[in-house]
Symmetry: C2
Subunit: 218 residues, 2 copies
Amino acid sequence: MGNRDRIVDAAIELMNKNGCVVGTTQLVEHLSISPGNLYYHFRNREEILVEVLSRLTSDLDAVLKVKPYETPIASWLASIFIGGAQVLRQYRFFFSSSLELVMKDERLADQYRNFTARGIKQVDAILKRVLANAAGQLRLTAAERGRLAENMWVLWTSWPRYIEIVAGAGNVEKEILRNHEYLEFLLRPYLDPKFFKAVVTHVRKLQRLDNQTWGVMR
Amino acid sequence: MGNRDRIVDAAIELMNKNGCVVGTTQLVEHLSISPGNLYYHFRNREEILVEVLSRLTSDLDAVLKVKPYETPIASWLASIFIGGAQVLRQYRFFFSSSLELVMKDERLADQYRNFTARGIKQVDAILKRVLANAAGQLRLTAAERGRLAENMWVLWTSWPRYIEIVAGAGNVEKEILRNHEYLEFLLRPYLDPKFFKAVVTHVRKLQRLDNQTWGVMR
DNA sequence: GTCTATACGCCGATAGAC
DNA sequence: GTCTATCGGCGTATAGAC
């Protein structure tokens, strides 16, 4: 693996551990490479983060993609909840500190705004699909559904920050995955109760699976 | 007014404008005082922020206080929505950057955790009062009400960050006050529809009032 | 592609006079 | 309480050899 990728990996790893203040100095120390080498691969610090955000975007895309003829909607929705939480865990520093990271660089800010707009649109599309198949008593207009999507997005992206504050530093990775419970709660009033239960069952299954694999990975 | 208070005021003002990266240097320049003077009043930068958070806490307390025999619940709830949004506007840098500000100092972190726990508890108490008087069809257990309170808190505290990203820098103060719409939406499924409408009406009135006074103040 | 060496600026903080 | 002067450290970024 080339140093370019190693730098991006190290940025994600160290920033998850120590926050977004991690600088190029710490990066090169951790990798035992020279500052010159880092600046050969990247014009500046922000360019590393552009790369991180690109990775994040495509990882999230894979989770939120509305598959054309997906039949079992409940398990699909469950996979989105858990997949979403996994993305939060993997890039938590980015969500925790998005503003600080992004404000310094106009290009990065644009990229992040696109990421946001795109994400909310994808969530809305998912909601549309889900509600078409399993709506509850309470109905939503398209505008209200949009607001729900926005609320879910804000809650999702803000979750790592919140957890980092209330949980001790050691519990972040465990607690962060409970994000789905809060999103489920937002959605619940608008879903058919039986469908909701089915989703929760699927989520539990997926979460057990994650516990196993995540435990092994580290 | 003594320099101590002027320093805290300047910190709030400049950090709202330029983000939490504003340092002691910029502070003393803006106030035309010397670095020595600042460090006479405060041991270090964090101590200024402790003072800011104290102010924020008592300002929010005034908004969230459950008044013992408040009769018109709808207008009271409306005043909480708008008062809450005003607090967001006034201290937005703090919410935008809480993590970065707080992580550097253990004392500040503790203070912020207290602020959070206390806030969620207050919101829950408000919900309890409101739901006892104007619940809708959908009922909540105490645990579910707690989750709703937590969701509302996260959404509220995360709002300035979100707005700062999606809105251009110039529109932040205007957009930030729309926070109440999103909180109302969270609460709506659990409220009596007639009551909800009454709240919205009161909110509109208060918001017009804020527009006038806020316009004059600046 | 990778290294060594280094310039430059900014910021937090202190010493000590008035 | 307020000032002037200054130190030390850190972080980004560059020049130029290998």
